[in-house]
Every structure is written in C-alpha cells, then in structure tokens.
Amino acid sequence: MSARRLSHGGRIDRAKTISFDWEGRKLTGYPGDTLASALMAGGQRVIGRSFKYHRPRGIMSAGVEESGAIVTLGDGAWRDPNVKATTQELYDGLVARGQHAWPNLHFDMGGVANFFSRFLPAGFYYKTFMGMPPFEWGSGTGWWMRYEKLIRRAAGMGTASRAPDPDAYEHAHAFCDLLVVGSGPAGLSAALVAAQSGLEVILVEQDFEFGGDLLNQANPESETKRIELLSAIHTAGVRTMSRTTAFGLYENSVAGLVERVTDHLANPADYLPRQRFWTVRSKQTVLATGALERLIAFGNNDRPGIMSANAGRTYLNRYGVLPGENIIVVTNNDSPYQPALELAKAGATVHLIDARTTTPELEKGCGVSVKSESIPIKAHGSKGIRGLESTASEGIQSCDLLLVSGGWSPVVHLLSHRGIKLVWDAQIACFLPGDTDAPIHVAGSAAGIWGSKDCGASGQVAAAKALGQLGHDIKLPTGKISRGSGWDLPIKPLYEIKVPGRKLQSFVDLQHDVTSEDVRLAHREGFQSVEHLKRFTTLGMATDQGKMGNIIGMALMAEALGKNIHDMGTTTFRPPYTPVSLGALGGRHVDSNFRPIRRTPLHDWNLSNGAIMTLAGLWDRPWYFPREGETIEDAYIREATVARKSVGLCDITSLGKIAVQGPDTAEFLNRIYTNPFAKLSIGKARYGIMLRDDGMVMDDGTCWRLTETDYFMTTTTAHAATVMVWLEELLQVRWPDLKVHVTSVSDQWAGCTVAGPNSRAVLEACVTDPTLISNETCPFMGVIETTLTGAIPSRIARISFSGELAFEVYVPSDYGPSMMDLLFNASKPLDGCLYGLEALGTLRIEKGHVTGAELDGRVTIEDAGLGKMASKQKSYIGDVLRKRPVMLDKNRARLVGIFPKDRTQRFNAGTILCKPGAISGFGEGWITGATYSPALGHWIGIGFISGGFESWVGQTVVVADPVRDQNINVEIVLPQMFDPAGKRSHD
C-alpha cells in the first residue's frame, strides 16, 4: 500500500478537480495542492533518478529543501528543468516529467552506474580524465573537456529549452522601514508589533499561503490564530507578498526578492510578467525564516518513501494525504512525536524508533509504539521502501513509509550572506546566528526557538529591537525565551549510522549523490577545510545547496579530523537561497531593450529620405542612402564621390557637444589639450587632442570660441560621455580654483556636415546673410553665429573631416529637420546628396583621419601620427608620462595607410599585418579600417604597423585574414592617402 488522499482535512478544495500530466499520464489533484502532494496522492513514488548513480528517488520533504522530487515542467520553449515538485503549485493542465532518467523513470539504463558506484567515488571523473594521455601540460585539460560532455550527458541535469524564453519578467523596487522574511508565528508577530508602532513593513513569504508552520498544524486553534494575526497585520498596514522568496541579503539592508507571479496559473493574463525581481531597500530586517529538518545517514537512506518527519505531517495536515499506512519514524529528538500521533490518529500504524534513552511519555492507546535507544541501519526495497533493518528489532521490520528526524537546522542563509558568523550550539545541535551589530534581527526557529508560542514572542522581541535601533522608545517584552524551547528532552546528536564490518551506502547530499564514504575519502585525500571538502565532493553544491544534509557532511568531516563541529565551522552560504531564473535577473533588458537606443533629432527626417540605419555604439545612425537598385557598396561609393565632386550632407548630431564657459576657460582648455589654446581668438575653432594622465590619447575633437568666456567643444561620438565626466572631475576635484563650468549640450544641438566643393554655395543659399560664408569672413577653422532662412538660430564652423571644403552647421535640436530641408533643397540643383556612416568612413580613411577605431586607449599621440600637435611650449595633462621612453619608442605601431599591391584586390578591417613568410602571432600590426576609395580608384586601408611608414618603404607586407583564409600582399603608405597637402579643405 502507499499514500492515499483522505476524504477530509487539509487546506485543499475538494470541490474542484485539477487535472495534470505526469510522465504522459493524466492525474488529478485539488486547488491548494503542490505537484508533490498531488503526485503522492496519486500513488507516485519514484519521481526522479539521482544525478550520478541514477538511483530512484521520491518525495523527501514538503518544501524548498527538496532534493529528491526534482522535475522538469512544461514543453517546448516553456520547458523548465530542476523544479522542486514540493514547491510547485498545481494548476490545470500542468505538464511535468521526471529527470535524469533514460529511457524512463522505471527502467533507467543509467542505473547501471549504481552497480559500479564503488568505482565512482568523489573526484573520480576529474582524477581519471584530467590525467588522460597525452601528458603534456594543458593537453589533459583538453581531454577532460572532451569527456566532460559525455559525463554530463550520463549525469543529466535536466535540460533547459533551447528556444528563446517566451515569458516576460519585470524589475521592481520597494522601500520600507522593516522587511520581515517569513510569515510563521515569529514573522507575523514581528510584523504586527512593528506596524502597530508606526513602521512601514513589508512581509515576504515564499509559500503561496501565509502562516509558515501554522499551516501544518492539526489543531483548529492554530488556524484561528493564523487568521487573527493575518487580519491584524493587514489592518496595521503591513504590505504582504506571498510566492516571494528573499533570495539574498546585501549591504545597506538591501534585499533581493523574486516574486513568482504566474508560475501557478493555468492561463496567465498576457500583461502579467512571469516573475518580478524586487530590490527592497529597508532600514531594518527581521529574519523569521524558520528551520529545516535534517536527515540521518543510514544505509539506503535515499529510497523513495523516506522523508522528513515534518513532511509526513505536512502532507497529512495541509494536503489531506495520508503518506503511508505502515509507518516507521526514526528520531533523535522530540519533534516527530506530535506528527507520529497525528498520523496514528489518521489511521496509520506508527512505530517510533528513538536513539535516546529517555523518551517523551505517550498516552496509552495513542496508536504509537516507541522503542528507545534504537537506531536505523538500512532501508530495504529499491523503488520504494519495504522495510527497515534497525536495532529496534530482529530482522527487517516492514513499512511503507519511513519518517526521519535528525534534528533541525535554522535557516540562517541570509545572515551568512551578510558575512555574519554562525555559531555551533552543541546543546541543540545546530548552527545559530552569531552576534552582530548589523540591523538584522533573527526570530523564531531561525534562532533555535522551536515552540510556536515562544516563536511568536521572539518575533515581538525582534521587532522591538528593530524599533529601538530606529530610535523608537520601546520596552523590550519581558520573559526569557531560551534556545531549544519547545523541546522537553534534549536532542541526542546523530549524524551517521556505522556498523563495524558492514558497508552501508548512506547519502549525505542526495541531489549530488554524495555519500558519507565520499566525505571520508576527501579527508583521506588530505582535505581539511569545509570549503575544500565542499568543492572536492560537491557536497551542498546542487540546486538545493545541501539544505537537508550539509550539517551531516560537516559532522563527518569533523569526526574524521578529530575536531568538533564548532571548530570545524560551516561553509559560507551565498545568494541565492533558492534558484533564481536568468529571466528574472534580466527583467525587461532583453532583445531591443537590452540597451538604450539613441536617436538624433534628424532620425525621422533621415528615414523619410531613404536612410538605411546602423547601430554605432548606442546611436542609431544613417548608414547609407541607397537609390533604386543600389547595393550598400554602390551607394557609399556614389555618396563619397558626390561629396568630393559636388556636395554631400551628413547627420553628425551624435558628436559630443559641451558648453565650456567661464573666465578661466582659456587656461582650462590650455591644460587639457596637447596643443596651444590660450590664444584662440573669438570666432575661431581649433582641432585639439586630449591625453589621459598616463599619456595615452583620450579623445580628439574641436573647440570653438564664441565669446570671451563661452566655448563650444565637440568630442567624438564614442567618447562623448567619458570626456564630460573627465572635465567635471578636473574642475571639481583637481582644479577647484578654476572658474569654469561645463554643460553637456549634446542633446540640445542638431548637427549636419556640408562637405564638398559646392558646400559654400549650399550654405549661401540657406543663411540669412550669404556674405558671412565667404572665405574672408569664414576662413578655414572660422566660426560664425548667424541665422538660417526662417530665422533659425545656428552656429557654423568651417571644419573638415572629409578633406573637402566643408562646414559643420548646428541648430537647436527642434530646428534639425527644418535645417535639413533647407540644406538638402539647396544641394539638389548642384546634384548633391545625403551620405551616411559608410561614406563618412571612406572620406576620412582617404584622408588618414583617426576615429574611435584608432583611438582605442592604447595609442600615443605619436602613434596616431599627430606628434606635432604636442606642444613644447606648455605643460598639459599627460605631458609628463607620454615622454616615457617606451611611449616614444620609434618601433611602436604607428598609423599608416595601406594599398593592395595588386590594385584590383581588396582586404578587410580587423586583419593582421605580417611579414611575408612570418604569418603568425600578433604579426607586425593591424588594420582598423578598409574601404574602396573612389578618389584613388582602388581599395585602401588604415591601421598601425611597427615603426610606421618609414620602416616599411619599398617592402611587401601581407594582410593575413585567417578567418577568411585569405592573404593579400600590400604596401605601406603614409596615412594621408588623398590630397596630403590639404589644398581642398583650405580652398
């Protein structure tokens, strides 16, 4: 016989039936069920196979500590592995299956591993396969990598879907005075006291119902008490969140929560996220996180039908399932006596085996027999327990359910996250929270207080302490609550059963198949610390983090080392307490929302004029403007040609723009640019280079002097934010005496480059006073502030990135589209065109002008071929360190131009420059940009090569492109490949 649903009792709603799919079969349950309780009621015992030995496993608990009933939920893109059946709420149409089994749960080929288990001790895979031949350094690792795939398949971890996650997730934030974690008697009491004293309180509960252990009680008074407390805290204004796990606690009382919004719904509404990831900033925290019952390591202690005593009670009282009819309970403490009585009352035969000499008195006729001074030895039955061999009786005592209580471990994980030391309490045999000044207060069984009433009182004390730390004048409740309260008789520590001369396979960590023998092996291998033990055996490293068995591992290691657990210590728990889905961590930051998109005020205008866009950093920029039938190559070649022959227009709004203002601006600029800025006259712009403190190039750009004290700085698109932060740092931290203010105006001004021999004609047609654009009033690097037709305010500088006669025109952002209409209409009669990022690249590569691709932070001013921009007459940022010998070394990679030897050939950016016959390693240099040059009639490139142009005159160099398996012979030329004298831009 096995478990069965009772006709009454429990918190389930028998009026409504839920049907679900388990391993392809239809089963039913009720609202209020978990998947585990419904499976148990449906007679299912083997729920999964174990990770390493493929041993059959069943339900072992009724909560987050579960290490047996681990299942895969859902199908297709929704497939979700490693779900604990014990915490998954049942819903109509739920689909689940067991894990780690092939071809099926009941006939698993991998189970063969179990017969060989003595050959598969801890560390076996690593030791065997890491050492595989060949033995050269590094090769063994390669073998491990190869075998690892096979081993992982054999081990099986449940497989996630390969399809994109179809669900949405949200990030949310909350603030409060007090965060209470856990809604058992301690948590409810703490929340009530705090809220009634005026605190803003958030109470979180991982379960779908509030009440903690109150939900598992048989007596109706508990339910009355629970309802009273719940109603009182709601009246007091506590914000309650169920299905919400506090998975981590961080500095400054910040807690991470995951709220499971729709995981329990059959047909969730479209607008609901599957889960919400909460960041809660509280001032104080009360941890009323409860305690988990431990197992005992005896022979075959992992058989289906063996579970914690408290789980047995929970299935009976909460889910109305009698988990077995012929029950043996083994214990070393008082706690399973009440469950035993309740199970007997529900109709089961119950035999209690207690390791202690003195045991609690039971009433005659209560239906429970007690055998003291007895311990379990070995469980019998493979796919489900059939009997127990123990010291209580001769032979095998038959049973269909074995309940185990090895003592209780307070849930102190969140404290451990905060680095608070845990202290072993030998009297009640568990780790308890150590002293701390942190604003965290532990209450209830998390503090080793077992009795329900005392838990409530300790919750009040915790709330009073929190109130006190917040400056409230609160009297601490009187009356002493001692650790272990709730137990009449002391616990007798019992971790492992050993019988001399017999090998018992007893499990310490069921999810990772770590046996007590593995722990001793770790000791024999020389491991001493718990952290090393954990990593060698993988004890406590599964998704349950060893919640039921970790302490046993510690105890066995301590014993092997001849220490006590207190000196041994425990491993540090780290977030998350229970697994958190990657989707929840990502929230809405997926796909196109992965990062922000920046658009210029000309975005729509560009699109309506045929732009194909591309992402440049965060910016969505015009790439090229194809005409009918044009490829990208046709388009950019045409655009670059038109810009050199007539005129081209290009959106340059993404350049960084900074207003630099104040009486000391000239001095400031003189310190941050390498070239002189002190004497820049009003109405002129200057190209400038900024270095970092270490002498590397930070950015290049222009700076326009508008008035005595008002300058307009432009930066590259890539470094706009960096430069702004840098200027603010210099002014606020380093040179507070300088009277200069910087303001980012990047978003305030829309910009367009007008480039080409006809650019002046275009501008003359657009400005209110065309005479301003003449060579006399606006010479090379001249700046004018004027209006465009229609009284559009504008600032114009004669600056050339393309090498042509060119102007940069800026107007307030809202006027951007109007400016483009004006300029484009004026350029049409001249056969002008719009050009995008691709043609922009072509024009600047032809001229050897650098951009972010070249200024990558590893480049000196000399490397960039701009050494003459470094003033010898003044000192500036980076001046001293740029003169270090290695920085000035002539053999550093320097900026060069690159031509293919055979002018019909082409090559790519990102490739490596090598000596012929020496194509290996890092080569001699690299290519940062390549384009077809309409001006030169063949492909050209820009890049860096050791020693620069002078070292490679007359030599052949190979562009190595290993990815495309293509090597092209090239020659190295000066970076200024077109119009080196700059005649065109100077007019």
Binding site: E251, N252, V254, T279, D693, V725, Q732, L881
Partner: protein, 94 residues
C-alpha cells in the same frame, strides 16, 4: 548593494554613481618630475579598512564626491562634495 548618501540628492544606489579612484591623491603640477606623476597615477595602497575614494554622481546631480568607505564591509562613513568651495557653501562656511 552600496548606498551612498549624496549631500545633494540624498541616499542613492551605487548604480547611480561612477567610481572615480583613490581620493587621497594630490595630483602633481603638470610639469612636475616624472617620478611624481608615476606615483600619482600608478601607486595605490591596497587598504583593508576605511579608505577615501572619489565617486561621481553621474546619473544624478553630476557632482564629484569624496567618500570614506570600509573596504571590508562597504560601510560608508563620510560623504562630502569634492570641491572645497561647494562643500563650504553646503556646510554654511561661506
């Protein structure tokens, strides 16, 4: 998560800030000897305990702050505007 009480904006998550660097460094004059610049740029103490740092409230008021932070616990002890004049105004000194 570190929470920094910005003297201008109030307590905010560290994600609003950009970490600057060692706040105890006095940068040498622009024409100071190479040795001084090497020390200022590269030599850092690896403090276990309270150290002074610069932080920029980059997604807030954009003020640079001097922050005393305990490198063991992330506890923040003191926060002030890095700019002496601004700090003075804030504290009513001028």
């Amino acid at each position: 998560m570190i929470r920094i009480p910005c003297p201008f904006c109030g307590e905010r998550d560290h994600s609003e800030f950009h970490y600057g660097g060692d706040g105890s460094i006095t940068y040498p004059a622009l024409d100071a000897p190479t040795e001084d610049w090497l020390n200022a740029v590269y030599q850092r103490k690896n403090i276990r305990g309270v150290q002074i740092e610069t932080w920029h409230h980059v997604n807030g008021c954009r003020m640079w702050l001097l922050v005393e932070r305990d490198t063991i616990t992330h506890e923040i002890h003191l926060v002030r505007a890095a700019h002496d004049g601004v700090d003075g105004v804030l504290k009513g000194r001028t």
